[in-house]
Symmetry: C2
Subunit: 149 residues, 2 copies
DNA sequence: ATTGAAACTCACAAGGT
DNA sequence: ACCTTGTGAGTTTCAAT
């Protein structure tokens, strides 16, 4: 899969705004909309494009607290059952099986510290095999981006 | 800002595919395209919708390794200069100022372990004020989603 | 808040180089 | 393999309800 300058413009414009019309891109590049359309189909088939998503602003829903939680498991054999339970907690937006001290490392979005405490104590600590957790609260996020092309 | 069932369908369809035509949504809910269009404009103005983004598949570019790195800073006064340097490293896709042991907590996407080592040793450890780092490599990601509406 | 119609813009299949 | 044309489909505005 080789990507030329035109493809890069297509990708750059759609990463910024996924609803940009193909013809706007066409005008920018200087070729027809159909040509852009064809290139886009090829990029989509090539698996380079994962999809187009609307992103919701969590703050507008009152979700003002981001936290990372390292989860200790009694036994790694409990991993898949723990994941199943974590999927049922909507505030858990990412989960990773990581090297290092923790068995599972998760990212949580919640409304405030009280809400976070509730999720930790009632939802996560109750999961079978979870012995202990360590929490890092994000006070400020300065970088949030995709890998560059 | 109040959100009814129709808004939820609009949001749900666009979260899944941001390029879904307004008329497809209109057919799904059974009202006119103009009505959907008007609701969408209102949702966009309300800040609930953050934007529409194309997502790139990092694996298709050879980025197969995700890691979290806790960064220790000599002094918290070096925070903003360190962030400035971190922004120059394209592999750093997230940065947080966190409570707990670390001053800065970052997420890195890189091609392989050798690449990761290079970024840690040459790029991050070289930043003024960075004394030490702790790295967690993600071996498996099971959850990756947005906050639900 | 929703509609239908008008004017405009776009997407995509078919065909040309 | 890459491009343009043509046309059916989609978007957007607006007066009316």
């Amino acid at each position: 899969m080789k990507i030329d300058g035109i493809d890069k413009i297509i990708i750059k414009m759609l990463v910024k705004d996924a609803r940009t019309p193909v013809l706007s891109i066409a005008r920018e590049v200087g070729i027809s909309g159909a040509a852009i359309h064809q290139r886009l189909r090829k990029l989509e088939k090539s698996a380079l494009i994962d999809g187009y998503r609307m992103t919701i602003n969590p703050k507008s829903l009152g979700y003002n607290t981001t936290a990372f939680v390292g989860v200790f498991l009694d036994s790694s054999s409990l991993y898949s059952s723990a994941i199943k339970r974590l999927k049922e907690i909507p505030e858990v937006v990412e989960s990773h099986y990581t090297t290092g001290n923790y068995a599972i490392f998760i990212k949580i979005l919640c409304k405030n510290n009280e809400d976070l405490m509730h999720i930790l104590n009632k939802n996560i600590q109750n999961i079978k095999g979870v012995s202990r957790t360590e929490t890092f609260i994000s006070l400020d996020q300065q970088i949030d981006r995709q890998i560059s092309i």
